[in-house]
């Protein structure tokens, strides 16, 4: 587990996806760095028996398969994730979250959130799970846990098209950063969901 920032262990999927996303340019690239850091944090949590949290594979729509060559997929397309990127179990509770990185220094734009993700998060809450966003302000080196309750309400009322950073700082929990785990977001989960304090 000695991978520097932004680098996860070389599992096939991650490497390939990274190569693909690199071509899309810098913003996606930095989003990928954040994703890899979260994946590495999850590996750390698993190894140290803190939690079991994994990334959902990207859904792929398969069109053509060549069976003569050991089920080689010859035509397929990426599909949009209709739920969130991560889920798992922590302290007996179901955990579900989306990790997003933004280049903005002032706010988190709502266009980062799809309507079906809001529906999914509301459903998680309804069934007693813990749901949140991890929002990374890449240029500020600040990452916040913001509850899905807050985000869904903001999304539906839409007083603005983005959540101002001052609101995120006030309502969210800052995630401590270190070498490993890169983002100790479970400490933020403890503070927000298990300490009984109302924010």
């Amino acid at each position: 587990m000695k991978y520097p920032r932004g680098i996860t262990p070389p599992s096939e999927g991650v490497i390939k996806k990274k190569r693909i996303i690199n071509k899309k340019g810098n913003a996606a690239n930095r989003g990928m760095v954040f994703e890899n850091d979260i994946n590495a944090s999850n590996d750390f949590y698993l190894k140290h028996n803190r939690a079991l949290i994994s990334k959902r594979p990207t859904p792929i729509n398969i069109v053509k398969v060549d069976y003569a060559r050991g089920a080689k997929i010859k035509e397929a397309y990426f599909e949009k994730q209709s739920t969130t990127d991560y889920n798992g179990v922590y302290r007996g509770k179901y955990l579900d979250f989306e990790a997003k990185s933004t280049q903005s220094k002032t706010s988190f734009p709502l266009h980062n959130i799809a309507p079906q993700q809001v529906e999914h998060l509301k459903s998680v809450i309804r069934h007693g799970g813990i749901a949140f966003f991890l929002i990374n302000f890449a240029l500020l080196n600040e990452t916040y846990l913001l509850s899905a309750e807050y985000i869904c309400q903001f999304y539906e009322e839409q007083p603005r098209k983005s959540i101002p950073i001052k609101d995120i700082r006030a309502k969210g929990i800052l995630c401590k950063e270190s070498f490993l785990p890169r983002y100790d977001y479970l400490a933020a989960v403890d503070e927000f969901y298990f300490s009984k304090k109302e924010k």
Copy 2:
């Protein structure tokens, strides 16, 4: 939600996968029928606000992508699921399970279980989640919830290479079958995990 047994609503992924697996022959085919029935049960549960449970997408190893044609995947291969097929949230708890169909009338062969799945299930239990197998005896029309605790112990001690059906009948919970949900496995979860009775 008026789909007969074995037929799920026509979402792209399911249809394509079905077409693929059909070529593998009858056993895989019947496994697919069971999977589709579980998916339909999950859709029913979601619609009726009972639980939020979804199938993990099959991980795919992508080798070649053509960006000139809108990110068309030109070469990729199916990968083995290293965890389980399903997870989600029910009554605030994290739920994680694998659904397997067997043609045997006498036992459930252990070769249906991969070592990394046993590790995954043990990790779920360690973190306070609910973990189990749904085992469908296709030729008997009987489906059982069998706890991961029991299965992991059997797997590690391996007194036999398969779990006899009489043990599954004694230690598992029979899932009621109906039109919708096809398999009411949450009733079995209630009975086993929430009623405080020891089996």
